[in-house]
């Protein structure tokens, strides 16, 4: 900008006089500053410890405190009062500060005046955003019925809106990632076998043997969970790890079973058959609590050690060794149910086998076994359910008479197929709250096609994750460090210690309001939406604080946020002994038989990689949970890429060396958007490659995470659906590498 005069000359000129240019009249009163009384710097040197934080960098939800210096959150630490994570946090928990101050965070309601996938954002007011959401969601309901709306929720802030859409609006089409792409098959299998969901509370701390099937503890980090595991190892528990890869857990194991992927159920059946045939199981427990054990034994009689050895590509002697180890120390055996279990589309049966094995060992309600800690009671809070019958009537799985053991909600593929085909009814509006279906749900092309056929897409999140690119209206939510919503409760992590219970309600560590954004919490957003859609009468809590206080009031004795604040964020009370509980074990399930599923745990062969391809399995690096953590500068620094593990013999044949950069392509021709580094190691089978999930974001608005590493989900285009539960099996996808533009076959 060429300027003729200097500022000083200008300011002294007549042209600048107030009469000529009345700036002062044009500028509204400024309220950014107040006069600050001078205080000596010494008293500002320290930090203030703010209690009441509940982490949500993952979903284990450790209890944290914030170290706040003069309005700035400088550090997060474990709440020293916690009997769960204690003063410890994992890398992600420690890095939460950088989520709070990430300039990429969503700040204002945005309207997409461009295209889905290539958005052009315009900041709009909350009134305009909410009015538009209400109008367009109402229009969908008027035209297609409530079932024409689908919701993809994840995380604690999504619970309140999820129940609003399910219960008040009346759509059954709720695709919860934590069920359909994660834990659903596990919990339903345990429900069908032991009558209770699995959870992960298995008593590893006091076990004599810990049995992990695919669980890569250490690479997957949940603080109190790992404390149990390490306490068990410290106490001398033998560790058995079944994994095609030499995982972090396998590295600590006494026995590593280098199993062929997808064959776990055969392995489990052979162990159980061996225990039955040799009467090495817990006869007393099974006699007292077993249901249909003889029929069960008959049903698995084919599963000899040699049969399984061949299928699993594992020495027969090793299967026998594992079975004998389990038997020798029963019932103090921790058979870990796993967490992410949506692997191969035969997952319900595998988890049934895990539960049956637990039952055969009598490792239930006993020291070191499958123990269900008794946590404190809380009051319930939910929306009323005026549309419950409507939602059930339009349940896609009931209409199709499939997935009779589905977790709550509707299996993702039924929703996506209905949206794409319009059958049995159209689904024309999508609400995504805290979930990123792009990286969560297999077959991205289909997910994008589903999004494109919607009349309206509403997304609410903290960060500009991949899915936000497809929103018509994008709403900014406050982060877990700035809101009330969730109440974490539980017991001391080591069940052998003094029995205690805790209740910790999330409270903001820093004020949600600042002058440079207009983020809101999900209770406020949902209530405003409900009012505008004509459902205001159903609102039970005006604010998130009120909702939390209603739940706390139901504790025994009643609690309140006020009291929790006075108790440094965590209320402790006397607990109950979780041991000496017996559970019935349904070995042979008539309920399953009637529904048309195998009544006895059954191994189904999974698709095998075509020549030149290896199976892609995925897991975790301890520094990332997903898309939302990938943009964190501290976590990014710890592990910038997700190396793809390749067997060293294969690498040799392929001419690849450790550190080479490759792209991946699957057997359906889907290529990774980005490249990553090869990790050459003897610690993986040659028919398998492995990488960590939560990398390779596609939204460039995640300026740190975009394109860093490879998005495993982009290569999972061919999901297998678990028949009983409708959950997604995601490990039947096969890949090879591309180096310098050339496709490289992976020798078997």
């Amino acid at each position: 900008m060429a300027v003729k005069m200097t500022r000083r000359r200008f300011l002294q000129s007549t042209g600048c006089a107030a009469a000529v240019l009345p700036f002062a009249n044009l500028v509204k009163a400024d309220d950014s500053f107040v006069k600050y009384p001078y205080v000596s710097p010494g008293s500002m040197a320290g930090t203030q410890t703010v209690t009441g934080g509940i982490c949500e960098m993952c979903f284990w939800r450790c209890q944290v405190v914030g170290k706040v210096r003069d309005g700035k959150l400088v550090k997060l630490e474990g709440n020293p009062k916690s009997i769960d994570n204690g003063k410890s946090l994992c890398a992600r928990g420690n890095a939460g500060v950088k989520l709070l101050y990430d300039p990429d965070r969503l700040k204002y309601p945005l309207k997409n005046i461009g295209k889905r996938g290539a958005p052009k954002w315009k900041r709009i007011s909350w009134d305009e955003a909410l009015d538009e959401c209400a109008t367009r969601l109402k229009a969908t309901i008027d035209k297609y019925g409530p079932q024409g709306i689908t919701i993809f929720p994840h995380g604690s802030s999504a619970v309140y809106p999820m129940h609003f859409f399910e219960h008040v609006i009346g759509t059954p089409n709720n695709s919860e990632a934590s069920f359909f792409q994660c834990r659903g098959a596990r919990d339903l299998a345990y429900l069908a076998t032991l009558g209770v969901p699995a959870g992960e509370e298995v008593d590893m701390a006091n076990a004599k043997v810990i049995f992990l099937l695919g669980s890569h503890l250490g690479e997957n980090v949940h603080v109190s969970h790992l404390k149990r595991y390490l306490k068990g190892l410290e106490n001398g528990a033998k560790l058995i790890v079944v994994d095609p890869r030499f995982s972090a857990a396998a590295a600590k194991a006494d026995v590593w079973v280098k199993i062929k992927p997808g064959t776990d159920t055969a392995f489990l059946l052979a162990i159980m058959n061996y225990l039955a045939e040799n009467e090495k199981y817990n006869v007393e427990y099974v006699d007292d609590n077993g249901d249909g054990f003889d029929d069960f034994c008959e049903g698995i009689a084919h599963a000899s050690l040699s049969w399984a050895a061949k299928i699993c590509d594992v020495p027969e002697a090793q299967i026998k060794q594992v079975a004998d180890m389990l038997s020798a120390d029963m019932p103090h055996v921790a058979i870990h149910p796993g967490r992410h279990t949506s692997w191969y589309g035969n997952d319900f049966q595998r988890e049934r086998a895990m539960a049956c094995l637990t039952g055969m060992l009598g490792a239930i309600g006993t020291v070191g076994g499958f123990v269900r800690p008794i946590g404190p009671k809380l009051g319930r809070f939910s929306w009323p359910t005026p549309m419950k019958e409507h939602a059930e009537e339009y349940s896609l799985r009931k209409l199709a008479k499939v997935h009779k053991f589905s977790p709550p909600g509707t299996p993702t593929d039924l929703i996506r197929n209905a949206a794409l085909s319009g059958q049995p009814y159209p689904i024309k509006a999508m609400v995504t709250w805290g979930q990123n279906p792009i990286q969560t749900v297999p077959n991205q092309a289909q997910t994008i096609a589903m999004l494109e056929q919607m009349d309206f897409v509403l997304v609410c999140d903290v960060m500009p994750t991949d899915i936000t690119m497809y929103a018509d209206i994008l709403l900014p939510e406050v982060s877990y460090l700035e809101r009330y919503d969730y109440i974490k409760r539980g017991t001391q992590w080591d069940f052998a210690e003094e029995h205690q219970q805790y209740i910790a309600a999330r409270m903001p560590l820093v004020a949600p309001e600042t002058k440079d954004h207009e983020r809101k919490d999900s209770v406020w957003i949902t209530n405003e939406l409900a009012k505008r859609m004509g459902y205001g009468e159903h609102i039970k809590a005006k604010t998130a604080e009120e909702m939390v206080d209603i739940m706390l009031a139901g504790a025994k004795p009643p609690l309140s946020l006020k009291q929790l604040r006075a108790e440094d964020g965590i209320h402790l009370q006397e607990g109950e002994d979780p041991y000496d509980v017996e559970l019935d074990v349904v070995f042979y399930s008539e309920a399953l038989e009637e529904a048309g599923y195998p009544p006895v745990p059954t191994y189904t062969e999974v698709p095998q990689p075509p020549a030149g391809y290896a199976r892609l399995v995925y897991g975790r690096l301890p520094v990332h949970t997903f898309n939302r953590t990938q943009n964190n500068v501290w976590l990014h620094q710890e592990s910038t890429l997700n190396p793809v593990w390749l067997n060293e013999q294969s690498a040799k044949k392929m001419g690849l060396k450790d550190g080479d950069m490759v792209e991946l392509v699957n057997d359906q021709g889907v290529k990774s958007r980005t490249a990553t580094v090869v990790k050459v190691t003897p610690g993986i089978r040659s028919d398998t490659v492995y990488m960590a999930h939560g990398y390779g974001s596609m939204n460039p608005a995640l300026t740190v995470g975009v394109g860093a590493g490879v998005d495993d989900q982009s290569l999972i285009s061919n999901p297998s659906i678990d028949p009983e539960t409708g959950t997604h099996g995601m490990r039947n996808n096969f890949v090879r590498f591309i180096k310098d533009g050339k496709e490289l076959s992976i020798p078997a």
Partner: protein, 196 residues
């Protein structure tokens, strides 16, 4: 910016202009983006004798479409965008290694406010937000504290504003913001003819 006070009340005038520019950088809305506002902006450009900027500034965005165009550009430049936001209006994004908000440089700005007996009203406000820094300089000038204002500009504001200015003027698709950041640049830069 060695201003001979109290000559012609130049400090107060500069304060008014900085407040005016801080307000102009806020989200464009009809409530304040009025013909008198636009005329003042044009007048300002004319008076400082910037032909190029004067020529660059389009006519008053009277239509809803013209206003929306400005709003979209504001969102893209300063809030959120795909592929990515161009120029987040916070100092530490440019000054501190990791590009995050509330870095050490933001704390320095806050310490400066304190030293001059000011405190942000929002206890968790990000201190080095563009609007806050400009208004702080205005406050100092109004109090006749030209030297402190100059020091703040030199130590806290100019070190990042240069990069911000570059990004906006290079990337902006609307001349309005190029003109605005040029004006902020003009009114905050150190004068070369010191003391003359």
């Amino acid at each position: 910016m060695a201003m001979e006070k109290p000559v012609d009340n130049a400090g107060t005038r500069l304060a008014e202009i900085l407040r005016f520019l801080a307000a102009a950088m806020e989200y464009p809305q009809r409530s304040w983006l009025t013909p008198p506002y636009w005329a003042a902006l044009e007048g300002l450009l004319h008076e400082i004798g910037s032909n190029s900027a004067d020529a660059m500034l389009p006519s008053y965005p009277a239509s809803p479409e013209q206003l929306e165009c400005l709003q979209v550009e504001h969102t893209r430049l300063f809030i959120n965008a795909v592929p990515h936001v161009i120029a987040p209006p916070y100092g530490s994004v440019y000054l501190d290694g990791d590009g995050m908000l509330y870095g050490a440089s933001a704390e320095r700005a806050k310490a400066f406010y304190r030293q001059e007996n000011f405190e942000l009203r929002g206890s968790h406000d990000i201190p080095d937000y563009l609007g806050h820094e400009l208004r702080f300089v205005a406050l100092l000038l109004e109090q006749g504290r030209e030297e402190a204002a100059e020091l703040f500009l030199r130590q806290c504001f100019r070190p990042w504003f240069g990069s911000f200015y570059q990004r906006v003027s290079r990337e902006s698709r609307h001349p309005y913001y190029v003109v605005l950041v040029s004006l902020i640049d003009f009114f905050t830069e150190e004068e070369e003819d010191h003391g003359s």
